[in-house]
C-alpha cells in the first residue's frame, strides 16, 4: 500500500508541474490583458509540435528543441497580441471569440503540416529513477518537474523583483493608474502574452515525448487549466499554482483508487464547491471575479 501511495504521489507531482505551467500562463494573460485565451491549449500543442519538428524530424538535441519551441510559441503569443487582442482591446468577448478562431487556425495548420495522426517522438531517455521495484519516476518526467520549478521561480522573481515585473503587476491591478505612472500598457501586454504563451509552449514541448501528440491535444489541457484557474482564483498566479497541485493530487489519487471518469467528476465538483463557497476562487480578488 505504501508503494502504491508513493507511486501515486510521484505521478501527482508530475501532473501538478505541467498543469501549473499551463495554468500560470493562462492566468498571466488574463490578469494583464483581461482576455480569456481559449487558444492556450493550442499553444501547448504548438510547443509539442515544435519538438516533433526539431527533435523527432530534424534530430536536434531535445534540450535545444525545447527552448526553441518555447520561444517559437512565445512569438506566436506576440502575434496573437498584435493581431487579435490589441485591435479588440476593451472588448473581452471579441478577444475570446478571436482566440477561438485562432485555436482553429492552429489546429488546421497542425493537420496540414503534420497530418491527423499522433506523432511518434523517440524517448528522450528511458532511464527511471527507481526508489524500489514498484516505485519510480521516469527521468523524462523529472525534467518536466525541474523545469516547472525553475521557470515558475524565475517568473516569481521577475514579477516581484524587477521593474518590468512591477509594471506588469501594476497593469494587472489598475491599467489606468499604471498608464498615468508612465507604464506602457501595450508593452506590458506584449510581455505578458509572450511569457504566458511561452509557458504553455514549454509545457507542451517538455511533455511531448510523454503524451500522444496530435492536433487536438490542446482540448483536455485547456479544460483542466480553466478548472484550475477558477479554483485558484482568476487572475491569481499563486492561486493557479496551488490549485494545480490540489487538482493534480485529487485527480491522480481518485484515478488510481477509483477510476478516471470519477476523477473528472470530482475535479469538476471541486470547482463547483469553490465557486459556491468562495466565488472569487481560493486566492482571487473580487475585482477580477
Amino acid at each position: 500500500m505504501m508503494e502504491l501511495l508513493a507511486q501515486t504521489g510521484l505521478n501527482a507531482v508530475y501532473a501538478a508541474s505541467y498543469i501549473s505551467l499551463v495554468a500560470v500562463g493562462l492566468v498571466l494573460i488574463f490578469g494583464v490583458m483581461g482576455v480569456i485565451n481559449f487558444a492556450h491549449g493550442e499553444l501547448f500543442m504548438a510547443g509539442a509540435y515544435a519538438v516533433v519538428a526539431l527533435y523527432a524530424d530534424m534530430h536536434l538535441p531535445f534540450f535545444v528543441a525545447v527552448p526553441i519551441g518555447m520561444i517559437f510559441v512565445g512569438v506566436l503569443g506576440l502575434v496573437m497580441e498584435r493581431g487579435l487582442f490589441r485591435p479588440l482591446k476593451g472588448n473581452p468577448l471579441g478577444g475570446l471569440v478571436a482566440s477561438i478562431g485562432f485555436l482553429m487556425i492552429l489546429q488546421a495548420l497542425a493537420v496540414m503540416g503534420f497530418g491527423v495522426r499522433m506523432e511518434h517522438i523517440p524517448p528522450v531517455t528511458q532511464e527511471v529513477w527507481r526508489i524500489s521495484d514498484k516505485v519510480g519516476l521516469p527521468v523524462a518526467r523529472i525534467y518536466v518537474i525541474v523545469a516547472a520549478v525553475v521557470l515558475l521561480s524565475a517568473l516569481w522573481y521577475f514579477l516581484k523583483r524587477t521593474r518590468f515585473g512591477w509594471a506588469l503587476r501594476a497593469s494587472a491591478q489598475d491599467p489606468e493608474a499604471a498608464a498615468l505612472q508612465g507604464i506602457s500598457i501595450t508593452q506590458t501586454a506584449r510581455i505578458a502574452m509572450f511569457i504566458g504563451a511561452a509557458l504553455a509552449g514549454v509545457a507542451g514541448a517538455l511533455t511531448a515525448p510523454l503524451v500522444s501528440v496530435n492536433p487536438h491535444m490542446g482540448h483536455s489541457v485547456i479544460v483542466t487549466a480553466f478548472i484550475v484557474i477558477i479554483v485558484g482564483g482568476v487572475g491569481s498566479l499563486e492561486g493557479a499554482i496551488i490549485a494545480s497541485v490540489v487538482y493534480a493530487f485529487v485527480h491522480t489519487f481518485v484515478t488510481t483508487f477509483s477510476d478516471g471518469v470519477l476523477a473528472d467528476i470530482v475535479g469538476l465538483m471541486l470547482m463547483l464547491v469553490v465557486l459556491i463557497v468562495k466565488p472569487t476562487g481560493l486566492f482571487g480578488s473580487a475585482d477580477r471575479a
Partner: protein
C-alpha cells in the same frame, strides 16, 4: 455533333479540350473498359481528430482497392462495366456531422453504399438510413439493431473477436491466472470490456479488479497504469483502446516495470511502441490485427485478394501508416462488389439481398450472417479471426480461431456481461 462544331467554329480551345480528353482516354485503356457511369461509394468516417487512425488509413486502402478494381475492368453490372469511385466525408467522430455527411453523400453525391467506422456517430446517421433505405456498413456491430435492416457489419465483429486472443492465451500460456483491464469510457470501449470479461471468465482467468474506465480526454496514463499494476496481475488487458492511448499506456507499463503479459485489441504502429519501450518488453504482446505481409494470409481460405501485394503497395504509398483498418474497408468493398455483380445492380436493396443470400466470403474465410441474440438482427458476418503476437519485433499470426465456435460454448457469458454493461441491442439508448 460535327455540324455543331462546324457551325459554331471549331476553336483552338475546343480542339485542345477534345484532344486532351481523347489522349487521356487512350492513355488509360483499362479504365476505359469500365465505361459506364462511375458507381460512387460513400466513405463516412473520422478523417481528422482522435479517432482518425481508424478512418483515414481505411480510405487510403480503399483508394488502392478502387485502382485495382478499375484497372481490372471495374464493377460488372447487368448493363456492363462501371468504374468505382469513393466520395469521402470527414465526420470527425461526431454524430451531427455524420448525419450531415450521410445526407450530403446520398442527396448530392448519389452514392450507392456508405461505409462507416460506426460507434458514437451512428445514432446521428441512423434516422437517415431508415428514411432513405441506403445500405450502410459499420466496423462496429454494436451499432446493429433490428431498427435498421440496411446496416451491415461485414468486416469485423468488434469486439467479439477479442475472445479468440484470450482463448489462445489461456491454452498456450496456462500459467497466466489473473488479469486486470482498462478502457476508455465510450461506445467502443464498453462492449469490448464486456467481451473481455466474458472471455476471461470462459478461460478461467480471474479478474483481480473492476475494469478501470478512463475519460477519452485522458493524456497522462501514469495513474491508470499504477492502478492496473497495484494488484500484481499476470495479464494487463488494454481492451479496445485507441492507439493514442495504447502507446502511452504501453510506455508507462514499461517505465513502471511491468513484467507480465499484455493483451490488446489493436497494436497499431507497434514499431513505434517498440521504439518507446524495448523489443524484449513487447515480445509476446497479443492483439488481433495482422500485418498483411504475413505468410499465413496466403492460405486458400483467405478471401482478401493478394494481401501481400496490397500491403506492399500500401506501405509504398503510406510508409509506416499501416493500421488495423487499412484493409478492412477494402475487404467490405470486396463483399459489396461480389454482391453487386451477383445482383447486376448497385441498387442498395438489390445488393443487400444478394449479399445476405447464403454465407459470405469474409476476408479470413467463409463466414455466416449472425447476431440475432446479441444485436437483434443477423447482420454481422462472422467466422474465423486471427490471433496475432509480436515476436522478435514483428507481428505474426499465431492461429485463426472460430468466433462462432467460442460463442456456441460461451454465448451465455457474453450475453451476461453485455447486459451488465448495458450493451445489448435492446439496452442501448
Amino acid at each position: 455533333m460535327l455540324s455543331k462544331y462546324i457551325s459554331k467554329g471549331f476553336t483552338r480551345r475546343t480542339f485542345l479540350k477534345t484532344s486532351a480528353a481523347a489522349t487521356a482516354a487512350l492513355g488509360l485503356p483499362k479504365v476505359a473498359l469500365a465505361a459506364g457511369e462511375p458507381i460512387k461509394i460513400g466513405f463516412l468516417a473520422p478523417l481528422t481528430g482522435a479517432v482518425a487512425a481508424w478512418g483515414k488509413p481505411g480510405l487510403d486502402g480503399c483508394m488502392i482497392w478502387a485502382e485495382r478494381v478499375n484497372a481490372a475492368g471495374g464493377i460488372m453490372l447487368a448493363d456492363g462495366p462501371h468504374p468505382v469511385e469513393f466520395v469521402a466525408y470527414d465526420e470527425e467522430y461526431d454524430p451531427a456531422k455524420a448525419r450531415t455527411g450521410a445526407t450530403k453523400l446520398i442527396r448530392e453525391d448519389g452514392v450507392s453504399f456508405i461505409m462507416m467506422l460506426g460507434g458514437d456517430p451512428w445514432p446521428g446517421v441512423q434516422p437517415v438510413a431508415e428514411r432513405t433505405g441506403m445500405l450502410f456498413s459499420t466496423l462496429l456491430p454494436s451499432d446493429l439493431s433490428p431498427d435498421t435492416k440496411t446496416l451491415l457489419a461485414p468486416a469485423e465483429v468488434h469486439p467479439i473477436y477479442n475472445v479468440t486472443g484470450v482463448e489462445w492465451l489461456a491454452q498456450n500460456k496456462p500459467e497466466l491466472k489473473t488479469a486486470v483491464m482498462c478502457a476508455q469510457d465510450d461506445a467502443l470501449g464498453l462492449p469490448s470490456v464486456a467481451t473481455y470479461l466474458a472471455a476471461f471468465e470462459a478461460a478461467g482467468i480471474e479478474m483481480l479488479d473492476e475494469p478501470l474506465l478512463f475519460d477519452p480526454a485522458t493524456t497522462d496514463f501514469a495513474p491508470v497504469v499504477t492502478r492496473l499494476m497495484a494488484k500484481n496481475p499476470d495479464i494487463i488487458c488494454l481492451d479496445t483502446c485507441y492507439s493514442d492511448y495504447v502507446h502511452p499506456i504501453a510506455e508507462q507499463l514499461f517505465q513502471q516495470n511491468f513484467k507480465g503479459q499484455i493483451i490488446s485489441c489493436t497494436a497499431d504502429f507497434y514499431d513505434q511502441m517498440i521504439a518507446k519501450t524495448s523489443k524484449e518488453f513487447m515480445e509476446g504482446f497479443i492483439f488481433q490485427f495482422p500485418d498483411f505481409d504475413d505468410p499465413a494470409l496466403n492460405a486458400e481460405n483467405v478471401n482478401f485478394q493478394d494481401p501481400n501485394g496490397f500491403y506492399a503497395e500500401y506501405n509504398t504509398r503510406h510508409p509506416g501508416q499501416w493500421g488495423a483498418v487499412s484493409w478492412e474497408y477494402a475487404s467490405i468493398m470486396d463483399l459489396w462488389k461480389v454482391a453487386a455483380e451477383k445482383a447486376g445492380s448497385a441498387d442498395p436493396e438489390a445488393v443487400l439481398a444478394a449479399m445476405k443470400d447464403g454465407p459470405g466470403n469474409h476476408a479470413f474465410g467463409e463466414a455466416e450472417w449472425w447476431g440475432e441474440e446479441l444485436f437483434g438482427i443477423d447482420n454481422a458476418l462472422v467466422g474465423d479471426w486471427p490471433v496475432v503476437a509480436i515476436e522478435n519485433g514483428k507481428a505474426v499470426i499465431k492461429e485463426f480461431r472460430s468466433i462462432p465456435d467460442w460463442y456456441s460454448r460461451h454465448g451465455d457469458l457474453l450475453i451476461k456481461h453485455m447486459q451488465a454493461y448495458g450493451q445489448m441491442w435492446d439496452q442501448r439508448g
